[in-house]
Symmetry: C2
Subunit: 246 residues, 2 copies
């Protein structure tokens, strides 16, 4: 069932060893983390946490994709975070979850019991420093997303989402974005709509339009082929260089 199962228990072979919250830890610190860690797997679609639940762990995403979302009483839902491998889930010092967390694809988490993790963080600056860096990156991503939500057209939103996923996949796989690229879209039309503040019908129409114009093509429902990444970038409405300044 699980096509992304993860059966390592050893940080030495962990696929996110050098990107996750533990990236800067030395051997001793890893050993300390090892004592309080455990793996958990979820199947695509399974809920991980409901907003308001007590949360006694924090975690790194090892494989798969999870979403954070906020729901209004009448059912309107906005995704507010998309957790890809190496992303961190939870907040040290926080007892109750403020968002719903769902496994979008099959998912493996590397969980740490929260209390001991907090204590360990107090002792090892490496962890706090890395978490700060990751949180600042997430804040930047959230701000880019705010521009998408507030000011982009439906077409630009879709193009932006595809470009973001494509770039993140490319960076994980160390492949180039320049020539034709193919990637798996881990989201349903509804999840994309919740990400972008659209309805699923609008998502479907805009994807069809991009397809019709040859900017993307599909293999099945989920596999996306982008023959010319620059062409896609034009449709995002962003300036060509992507505005990267580290």
């Amino acid at each position: 069932m699980s096509d992304t199962s993860f059966d390592h228990k050893d940080c030495g072979t962990c696929p996110i060893r050098h990107r996750a919250v533990c990236a800067r830890c030395d051997t001793d610190e890893l050993a300390e983390l090892d004592v309080i860690k455990y793996y958990r797997s979820y199947e695509a679609g399974q809920p991980i946490i409901w907003s308001g639940d007590r949360m006694d762990f924090v975690a790194s995403v090892v494989t798969g994709v999870a979403s954070l979302s906020q729901a209004m009483e009448d059912g309107r839902t906005q995704m507010v975070g998309l957790l890809l491998p190496s992303d961190f889930l939870g907040r040290p010092g926080r007892e109750f979850a403020p968002y719903d967390v769902v496994a979008v694809s099959n998912l493996t988490l590397c969980c740490f019991r929260r209390k001991p993790f907090e204590q360990l963080m107090g002792r090892t600056p490496h962890i706090g420093a890395r978490l700060l860096e990751m949180t600042l990156d997430e804040l930047d991503a959230a701000r880019e997303w705010m521009l998408i939500l507030g000011r982009k057209t439906a077409r630009e939103k879709i193009a932006s989402l595809l470009a973001i996923i494509a770039q993140r996949e490319a960076s994980l796989a160390h492949s180039s974005t320049s020539d034709g690229m193919v990637f798996e879209l881990p989201l349903t039309r509804e999840a994309m709509a919740d990400y972008l503040g659209l309805t699923l019908e609008t998502v479907s129409r805009q994807i069809s339009a991009l397809k019709r114009e040859g900017i993307v093509s599909l293999e099945g429902k989920r596999r996306i082929l982008v023959p010319d990444f620059d062409r896609l970038m034009i449709e995002t409405g962003d300036d060509a260089d992507g505005g990267l300044m580290i």
Copy 2:
């Protein structure tokens, strides 16, 4: 000219001493910060930094309000951060600014030269820990904002903005939100529109509607009076309790 001028140079009397990035610093650490700090003031409307500029400092907002915004080539603008007193501006390790920063009201910053600040951060965990905490809070605020941008109606957006400002002012002033409250709205209609992903005309119309229905009233253009805060909260679309869970 400046009605919010700040002429202390002493952290002991600083209004944000216990909320800013230096909140947890002891006397020795404050002394170290003192060596690399300087104050700068801006008048309402003045630009502080343009996106792409080199940034050789980081700073705390001492008094006043600043905005972070992202602009698209065609002029569409989205505000992505609103910095109130005690909020932190800049990112350690980052050389170029990714956003435009503007003084929305008269503003005083407590600036730290970036390089020495980074070094100091490496030595004093208190600063990094506080910055992590503040960044996590900002991330939460950004996520609440994403729900507003993606899923709320124009009316709900306006009500949400008013509620957010009202609550933050109340918490700074240690006053209650329960009975009638009055506060200064530091934003122009255009800035509100950029915050909420609306046009200024729509902002104006929705404020007029809330006024017509007695949910708010205005003294002049900027002074807002909220006779019944719960009534305003209903208009935000959020559930009554505000969903606070620390």
